[in-house]
Amino acid sequence: MSAMALRVAFEWLGACSGCEISFLNMGERLLDLLTGTFEIVHAPLLMDNKYCDAEGHKTPLPHADVGFVSGSLNNVEHLEILREMRSKCKVLVALGSCATHGGIPALMNGGDMHQGWREIFQTSSTDPGSEVPNREVPAPLDRVYACDEKAAIDLLLPGCPPNPQLIEEVVDSIVEERNPVLPEKSVCDTCPVQRKGKGEVKVIKRALVDADFHSDEPIERMRCLLEQGFLCLGPVTLAGCAKNEVPRCIHARVPCRGCYGPVRRGGNQLLDMMNAMASNGMDYKSVVDRRSILRFSGAHGRLRPSRKR
């Protein structure tokens, strides 16, 4: 196997390392990968690979068969690393919702970026003359981008974090040179809770109220959380999080937060959810801070500063 080893590069941009931890959660299969299939040539999480030599000249990244990139593009360094990865990897996989849809960092897109930078870099206690950096710390981009906005990505695997089973499927598909089989339905389509029909709920409850369920009963006996009046993003969110056939948040008896991004690539979770509510006679105005429905998919120009009047 080692003669056929797959040269793999990992890289993280605006990321939290959750996607890498999800990789580790693959279980015993990971041992096979690490001892036989993978030859890791670059991974800042595991090994210190310099991007510059002592004199400040850039050192190129090694060539790889597969590259996994997690995280969003927040600054010029991220952009440079992503482009370098693209040029060195035969197959480039965007891992996790930050890389595919902007993720949590892209929440920044919904506010005034310049004000945000000022608040970060120029507080009342900083020395005079401090400004938004562009040398020692990489300069921020004009907004937060998903990886596929700035480079050609071969495979997009959303999730916060991505399901280890799906990571395994992606790795297998690359090894076997076939297309991966990834979920295409919504969270609702894969959810086993009881649905008795819509129309009763008019106003959305806040998550401060407990859902109605009995913890000793199986999840199949619980009433759909959306039908109970909670803002569950299941209808507008891509499936894939399920463990033992139950979407994870629903399994914990809390509403779906929407972390896999829109069901259809290019969909808009906020619009879709509001549309579903308006067409079913629910009061969409009862949703508090509705723009946070785009909390995982704010890149691609979806989350924008709201227009001030």
Binding site: N268, L271, N275, M277, S279, Y284, R291, G301, P305, R307
Partner: protein, 142 residues
Amino acid sequence: MNNEPKIIAFCCNWCSYAAADLAGSSRLKYPHNVRIIRVMCSGMVHPEHVVESLSKGADGVMILGCHLGECHYINGNRTALARSEMILELLEDFGFEEERFSISWLSATEPEKFVDAVNEMMERIQELAGSGISANSSHGGQ
């Protein structure tokens, strides 16, 4: 290149498209920069169609349906009405002025109403342009 405003009008097959058709064959004058898209019912125009049109460079979007109570599909235009209130509210979330969207009702025999609706939309867009605001001025496109 071309700075003329573009307006997308989603017209339902049964009333408003027929009205637009009649406006043409009656040789009524209306702004040439309205792009008419025929849909089966105003109730099938998803809010994404509206936001995507604006994101990709349209200056205004209109939905034109049958008079309330006269929908060919019984209550499709009521769905469109419920959605339109939501669209107006959400447009600001996406950084567009609410003037860029309108919904109106006309029957197949009211070509003048079609012309009036388009003219009114055009005036609204030109007023916005006069105030120096253009759609997609920031965070535009995809």
